[in-house]
């Protein structure tokens, strides 16, 4: 290109030097903008932009959702302190709107005046249940109001809370709760009547306790018998008397990592259909792989119509439990994570996987996997080839670089603007102290901002957090994200939990004229058809594939309803349900911009 051209060298020098000079001059020599500078204020003729494309507003305090998480930290750096806690969204009273459940820490040690907790304990201890009294005002506005009904509900969950699962395990049409704790877990049967939320504890009767450190859990019908079974992810064998004084690379006291303790196998409980469960952890093969489970998601990942289980493990290989079906009458699983390409990162390292979500991110009809990791490492997107073989596409899709500065925990797939492409939100918060926050004297120097990554419809993601309002700029120690349309306006909202911080309810205020359809799909017995694959066909013939699910994210339970963005299409849609036996059921001419309740036939 340059050969034989006498002027080319000089031109090249000029070309390479000036941009650099300009860039350096701009960055190195600039002075802070003076106060009163014209550039610091908008001209009066240009009002600030309203209704930006992506916007969330925290309405927790304004709507009565008042909750502050407490971890009982006292300076000993106990491993359990920064891990919790989660929460969930579920219509507990069957009135058509989502209620809120939030898990709480509890005292780890008896009171000691010489070592008081850094933050005061909550006035109302234990997990809390907030009833949603959503009202439609005459002017069409939706008014959210939450009432703490914990005491009246009978829920007494005073353990050291971690995560939760929701599902109607007794097929009575009411959503039950499983609470995973650092310590004994609890199963709460929903016995609500006449709009009054009520629970009764069934842990012992159902035989689903797990006294170890459990984190996330999932209700899933693994044997297709119509009854929801229960998978519980367990972390490591830490206990207060096993506490180890761990240190950072320089020798400074620090929180331990998961490798400081032995991993624990997860638990799998089979629903016997009579209110009791059978522990089949060992017989099913699950117990063979002790690890450090933090997140769990269930989906048919290899296209054989059986629901598989994927577990995100902290600094140990992730597990993909392939469902082999029944053998000798018992469900059996084998771990195929390594061969499927989902066990470790592209460079063969076990990553510190925390949050996990499954969904069709590239629009090819199968469920892909996205999971969150430590800062300095990248979050990982595994794209499914439809047969259970995955390829790490983090770097081709914009997922890798944007995640490097953050330690990600909860994550959900959300079509923020209902354009039909699934976007991603990630709740961030460090586990290793942040230098600047230590210098500033922050008692919990682990704070980071959360992220919103928008899908361009071609499977490429852009971090638009800085354009999504203050909620994606706050510095907090965020942990769980739960997804659901809390005000039933056809836009997916987010419940956010923070360690040693307030729970937030992020209402989706994004400016989008796109159409949508909401689906609640019930089994013949009247419970949410968890695990069911749904195809949604728009008028233009394009299909979107979704899964009825409440699991995924981190320590969280999501709304079981499926909310699908339709883009500009205002035409009626067709919905196809594919059952695990391959049979199909169709609903035609469903009107957009509203919710539909669909019931599967026997």
């Amino acid at each position: 290109m340059l050969r034989g051209h006498p002027g080319s060298v000089d031109r090249m020098r000029t070309r390479c030097l000036f941009p650099l000079l300009l860039a350096l001059l701009a960055t190195a020599c600039s002075e802070p903008t003076a106060s009163g500078d014209a550039a610091a204020t908008l001209p009066e003729s240009e009002p600030p932009a309203t209704n930006p494309r992506w916007l969330f507003e925290d309405v927790a305090a304004a709507s009565g959702l008042s909750f502050e998480h407490w971890n009982d930290m006292r300076g000993e750096l106990l491993f359990v302190e920064p891990v919790g806690a989660g929460g969930g969204l579920a219509d507990l009273d069957g009135d058509g709107d989502l209620d809120v459940i939030l898990l709480q820490g509890s005292a780890l040690k008896p009171p000691d005046p010489t070592h008081p907790p850094v933050f005061p304990p909550p006035a109302q201890p234990g997990a809390r249940v907030f009833r949603n009294d959503l009202q439609m005002l005459p002017d069409g506005q939706r008014q959210l109001r939450f009432v703490d009904v914990t005491e009246a509900s009978g829920l007494r969950a005073d353990g050291y809370g971690m995560g939760m699962a929701t599902g109607d395990y007794d097929n009575d049409g009411r959503i039950d709760l499983y609470l995973a704790n650092f310590g004994a877990n609890q199963l709460w049967r929903n016995v609500s009547t006449d709009g009054q939320i009520r629970f009764e504890q069934q842990t012992e009767v159902a035989a689903v306790d797990d006294p170890r450190w459990s984190t996330s859990a999932s209700f899933v019908d693994i044997d297709d018998d119509g009854w929801l079974d229960l998978y519980v992810a367990n972390y490591v064998n830490f206990s207060l008397d096993r506490h180890r004084a761990c240190r950072s690379g320089s020798g400074r006291p620090d929180f331990c990592g998961p490798n400081a303790y032995d991993g624990e196998p997860d638990s799998l409980f089979r629903n016997l259909g009579n209110g009791r469960f059978e522990d089949i952890s060992r017989a099913s093969g699950i117990q063979a792989e002790p690890s450090s489970g933090l997140g769990v998601v269930t989906a048919d990942l290899d296209g054989d119509r059986r629901i598989d289980i994927y577990v995100a493990n902290d600094l140990r290989r992730n597990l993909l439990w392939r469902n082999l079906g029944l053998r000798d009458g018992l469900p059996r699983f084998e771990d195929i994570a390594l061969l499927s390409g989902t066990a470790v990162s592209m460079d063969g390292r076990a990553q510190a996987s925390m949050g996990i979500v499954a969904g069709d991110l590239d629009g090819d009809g199968d469920d892909d996997l996205f999971m969150t990791h430590l800062s300095g490492d990248h979050n990982t997107l595994y794209l499914n080839d439809g047969r259970g073989g995955f390829i790490d596409a983090s770097m081709n899709t914009g997922m890798a670089a944007s995640s490097l500065p953050h330690t990600g925990f909860g994550t959900v797939l959300i079509d923020v603007d209902n354009d039909g492409a699934l976007d991603v939100v990630v709740a961030n918060g460090e586990v290793r102290v942040i230098e600047a926050q230590v210098q500033a004297g922050d008692p919990l120097p682990l704070k980071q901002s959360n992220q919103l990554l928008v899908n361009d419809g071609q499977g490429h993601f852009e971090d638009v957090s800085h354009q999504a309002g203050i909620e994606f700029q706050r510095l907090e120690v965020s942990r769980a994200f739960a997804l659901g349309d809390v005000d039933n306006d056809g836009r997916s909202d987010l419940l956010l939990t923070n360690n040693s911080g307030p729970a937030r309810l992020l209402l989706n205020r994004s400016n989008s004229a796109h159409h949508w359809i909401g689906l609640r799909v019930l089994t013949p017995s009247g419970r949410d058809a968890l695990g069911l694959r749904l195809g949604i066909r728009s008028a233009n013939g394009s299909w979107q594939w979704r899964r009825v699910a409440t699991d995924g994210s981190y320590l969280a339970a999501n709304d079981a309803r499926v909310l699908v963005g339709l883009g500009d299409s205002a035409d009626a849609v067709e919905v196809l349900a594919v059952r695990s036996d391959g049979s199909e059921q169709r609903w035609l001419d469903l009107a957009p911009d509203r919710y539909h309740e669909l019931r599967l036939e026997r």
Binding site: V9, L21, T27, S248, G249, A288, A400, L404
Partner: protein
Amino acid sequence: MKRRRWALSRCRAWRGLALGLLLCACQPAEPPAIDVAPPPDLAQLDLAVREQFRQLWEADTRDWGALAQWFHVYRYPDSAERCYREAILQQPLEPRWPYLLALLLVEKSDPSAAEYLEAALALAPEAPQIRLQLADMARRQGQAEQAAEGYRAVLAARPKDAAARFGMGQLALQRGDAPAALEWLLPLAEEQPNAAELNYALGTAWRLQGDATRAAAALERVPDSNLHQLPLQRDDPWQAAMQQMDRGSRMLTRRGIRASREGDHARAARLFGAAVQSDPDGVEERLNWALALSQLGRHEAALAQIDAALNRSVADSDMQLRVRTEQARLLTLAGQPTQAERLLQALLDDHPEQLRARLELARLLHTRGDMSGALAQYAQLRAAGAASPELVFWQAAALLALPDRAAAAEQLRRDLHDDPERQRLQLLQWRLLATDPRADRQSLNSARDQTLALTPSPNVLQVETLAMLLAGSGDHERAARWQQAVVSALEQAAPAQAALVESLHIARRRLTLYREARRPLKAWEPTERPLALRIQVPGGG
């Protein structure tokens, strides 16, 4: 072409000079005091780390680059960044500072990282690590073309550069081009067969190619734990020098573990010893040092470190119980099993829930031939919920060695029902069959055929089981031929591995039986070990 290279080089020189001039020119006449302070937690750092900082901080002339690296390696990124910026001002022609600053900025996903790498490249156009970082960064950002260009530029100057070849392989994987990936990765794997990331990439490539067998073989070479992984050897002297600065006991421990993993126990012991120097009160550091010394046969020194660790540990803490368990293990290795047994019994009297200690006691009793004692411990472990593949195997092996054939049969039946995929248990069950005089020929033949089909490259455990089955069905000639293959392999390997001598004795005894046309009497010997040593299939086998 030459003219172009000259132009590029002149261009980079200009850019370097420009950067230097700019960085200097932008300084105010009286530079403001840089906002860097000693870490607030300095008093809590390892002794050696504190001393390192003191020397840098109190030096007559402050070496900002060295100070930046100190902050960098010990994870004070904000201070490190400020120091690097100051170092750039002080030494504008030194390429290391913009380079290392860029590495910090990459972690923050700060787009200016690329500018600093470009600036470093302008100052040191021949340093391949800068181009590699730029290319890796482009790859992470999905800019495949730009990344490939960077790797190719490195390879043009250094065709054997491992990082660049690996990068090209990864790019091929990213676009799903398995044949191209294999073309880059296979030769590299011959040079660095143990690099974990390379083996994983190979596994992925074979998987994409649809070759599950090769994929599984490559993936088997990726260790379970990150701690035990050997990384791809990359040529980055600047980063290596910075890493060498790390005198923290954690890093020394990590390097010690790596050395141990590589089989370099002497180096491991040196590194663990240095970790103890860095943190003399560290219990874990002393325990690691003890284990490494024991590997070198320095039992007395190892046990002295165990004592030192016990003195520094909190009474009845998990760590102290772990050290006591390891003490018993080291005593066994030092030839004092009776004392070890007493120690473990005492520990378990106080802490019956200590599964690790109980497993160690079971192992010790098993090794000493006390099968009843070992079985009592195995039973307690199983009752406590422990069911690792190792435990399950050894429990069955102990029952067979006792021999309590009925109990062994029942235990194997139960465990195989729970997990039919456990091949080693299956082999034990077939051995039980082979040593049963009432076994019918059909069952024996079926077991024999399944054993034969297990693998094209069988190990000692598999081949001895096969020989037993052959002898059990009366085919003593073939049994002897297979058993001879085991004896030959062990004879070859035993001189270098003393632990194989007992296995060789057992193998020879079995060979004698088959030559005398007799069936084996015992399915498992008390001192027998399941060996993974590969056996050459005998002619006519």
